[in-house]
Amino acid sequence: MARETRSQERHPTAPLVDVYENDKEILLIADLPGVSKDGLTIQADGDTLTLEARRTEVPLGTPPTREYQTQDFSRTFGISPSIDRDRIEAKLEGGVLHLHLPKRAPVTPRKIPIRVG
């Protein structure tokens, strides 16, 4: 797939995140200002989780001053095998992503009956 030259010039920055856990899930909250649903890709691959987000650019005149460039976001996290990849849920609101990573039901040890021969 051909990528526009401009996107290669834009170095992605790591978004700020909070990570929480309870007995049901891991909750990851990330600041993604300027990112809409269409610009966000979340990928769980093996033991890594990758967030990639493109900012929606607002076409404007030439910026005479700027404190920052509108950078895209990218960050990779390690995830435990106990996370159920099929039930990951994401909610994006007001530039903040809530990513729910549910834990699999704990494996209950199986008792093996011993028969006396």
Binding site: H11, T13, A14, P15, L16, V17, D18, V19, Y20, E21, N22, L27, I29, A30, D31, L32, P33, G34, V35, S36, T56, V58, L60, G61, T62, P63, P64, T65, R66, E67, Y68, Q69, T70, Q71, F73, G94, G95, V96
Partner: protein
């Protein structure tokens, strides 16, 4: 040697020093490519001259509309607000990079604007303020006549 004549001069000198220090700080930020946190304690802004209007954009992820205030006094625009803490109940925190914050920033506009024709939109955590320039400072096309 040049000495400070009075308190007023000294104040100006201090302000000048401060300004130089600020300029250096922004130079550091502008160095693209280096990873940097997306949001600091104060919102970062972009300021554009779009011809007929000035456009100011600020990154405000997780800031509610009700917690924002925007005021225009003469040619000074002040943006103030806060982001409340959003830590969920009943969870243990492993990593907390996103802090709640309060801020207030003022910007001296480079030209007169029409206070009646300003608008502000908060979308995807980015505030965009559009300030239409006063008619007398809007760019004008000047026709060139062949004499």
């Amino acid at each position: 040697m040049f000495g400070y004549r009075n308190d007023f001069d000294r104040t100006l000198a201090i302000m000048d020093q401060l300004r130089r220090r600020m300029d250096r700080a922004f130079d550091d930020v502008d160095r693209s490519g280096a990873p940097e946190p997306a949001t600091g304690g104060v919102p970062r802004v972009r300021f554009h001259d779009a011809g007929n209007a000035f456009v100011l954009q600020a990154d405000l992820p997780g800031v509610r509309e009700a917690d924002l205030s925007l005021s225009l006094e003469q040619d000074v625009l002040t943006l103030a607000g806060q982001r409340r803490g959003d830590a969920p109940e009943g969870y243990a925190a492993y990593r907390q990079e996103r802090a709640p914050f309060r801020f207030s920033r003022s910007f001296a506009l480079p030209a007169k604007v029409d206070p009646e024709k300003t608008s502000a939109v908060l979308e995807h955590g980015v505030l965009t303020v559009t300030l239409e320039k006063a008619p007398e400072v809007k760019p004008r096309q000047i026709a060139v006549r062949v004499g």
